[in-house]
Symmetry: C2
Subunit: 343 residues, 2 copies
Amino acid sequence: MTKRSRKTIKDVAAAAGVSIGTASRALNRTGRVSEATVIRVTDAARKLGYQPDAIAQSLRLKSTKVVGMLVTDLSNPFFASVIRAAEKRLQQAGYALLVGNTDNEGTREKFLIDLFQRRRVDGLIVGPCETENPEMLEALDSGDLPVIGYDRDFGEGQSGLHVDHRRAAYEATRHLLNLGHERIALLSSSSLLSPGRERIAGHAEALAERGIALNQALIRAHKSSMEFVASEALSLMSLRPAPTAFLCLGTRMLAGTLQGLQQNGLKVPGDVSVLAVGDTDLARLYTPAISCVTWDLDLVGQMLAELMLRRLGDDQGEPQRIMIPTQFIDRQSCGAPGQCSGP
Amino acid sequence: MTKRSRKTIKDVAAAAGVSIGTASRALNRTGRVSEATVIRVTDAARKLGYQPDAIAQSLRLKSTKVVGMLVTDLSNPFFASVIRAAEKRLQQAGYALLVGNTDNEGTREKFLIDLFQRRRVDGLIVGPCETENPEMLEALDSGDLPVIGYDRDFGEGQSGLHVDHRRAAYEATRHLLNLGHERIALLSSSSLLSPGRERIAGHAEALAERGIALNQALIRAHKSSMEFVASEALSLMSLRPAPTAFLCLGTRMLAGTLQGLQQNGLKVPGDVSVLAVGDTDLARLYTPAISCVTWDLDLVGQMLAELMLRRLGDDQGEPQRIMIPTQFIDRQSCGAPGQCSGP
DNA sequence: CTAGCGTGCGTAAACGTTTTTCTATATTGC
DNA sequence: GCAATATAGAAAAACGTTTACGCACGCTAG
């Protein structure tokens, strides 16, 4: 009891009175070994509390049973929920999940990819990152590291998963247009990221259907602290004529916008309509409740894991691209454009 | 270019015309090797794009440079932010972070601990989990796996980090008492978890100072879906006499409470005062803004990592216990108890 | 001129597995 | 009773590192 060093298969073999090769085959039930010794060996293993060393196995089997996941912000609920769901599915399949936070910096991402590669992860799931260097990821995958993109474009040949941000923005915009809004302010995450690009495209598409040109002055697309978004919202409201509706198309845009509007005593939806992407407690419980476009984050995580597992299993099958649909939830934050757009 | 198999140190040694032992010593600048060959070897390594295999290193060096972290819910912002900060600090120190979601199930936690142990993580950070089996964790640590508890009691001999939930609840309760409230409803996460226990203790302490007995009927402590919390809040409000204030001491208690109150048209703070733990967008932007007790999640993650790194480095030094202080933020959700407690 | 010593480097063992190859024994068929 | 064959299990190689050990060489000192 004093010496609690870890038991190896050698100990098990010795205890069972067989060679280590036989012990291994007995434990894994592979190769030819008599039923009697299987029992002897497994008994010994149980008695010793033997657990095979995953590192040694990895080295020998050339597979670590670990997949890495890289996102810009682990604490962003939009990623955190996805990670949770992905981890759950991967766990079921015997994989563990190594996470990395890129802070949306290209160098950091590259560093982490290198690191994970040295750690010999079996696969990599990468979220969007501003510095698109698709050639890097493509190289990775054409090497021997399966890569699944999440809301991230790289060549058509690669499998990946995309939320249908374009359609989400399209429907949200149409909703506002149907209410009579024509000057719609757009707050989005960076247009350098795939989600931002797609959202702006969907927005433009809906406007185009009504013959309304995209007004660049009404679009603000960059990454966001809440305070900055608030000031952006106010600066947008000081335009003349002022926008009559806000489309908050980023994960943390809604809070900033509401704060900005509150500061200036602007009422929703009386003075201005607000529509968000992503359903949060804030959207649900704010007064008035905020209409939004949302999608199933658990499904996203699950499908990412699924995609990865498929790539990890028998490699056949074309690269798959999955599109996650979005739903529109109508609440009380949108109305017809108000008359009080004067100073 | 067609054959892109991974380069090993053997390739580097061959390219530099030395033995693999020498190559290793040259790359690591350890042992005796002439400056000239150091240059030849590093050159060759760079030219070949050699990256040492972390798995093989782990096997040899008996250290994986990976730490595992187990929490009940990866998507809970209270954990997600901590994970992000911890990962950042660990990354700086050359460690990677393996995450696991326990869903607050003891069996799952045990499974993950075994799994991580087999993966030979260098250390383990464990958050609270309902099934306290401290003997397990203690055994782990007294074995050779450093364990850092996060809001989780195990023996006094172990190092860990605790948020000062007791003081947080104490101050929140005092605030309400000073406003004149005497019937305070308490919604908390499970009392089986350390945070829940501490909070209830702090609450009781503040009450005791005023000579008020803890009223079990006003306490609801279990894990929570938002809908369930809403119904709990309503059931509490139907007591006679009804509580005049709500203390929402769990990560997701506030949303449920507000929803329940809203459904019944109860006004905050007119009909009932509300006080929350944890500052969220919802608390900040709700009308009225919700007073709360909060603390620095980044600091928590950072200190967890720091504690772990210290344990991982030179092992000397007593086990450390860190207490994270909390701050009270007063907003508009608390007032003097209303008169309208009649039906 | 030789004994001693420091230096550079090659050799080999070790980490804990899995798997291939090979040997010894038992079984079968004639 | 003996050859052919099947089968259990042992031995050893391999995965990619790091490191202890020892050898050869050149230098200094007596």
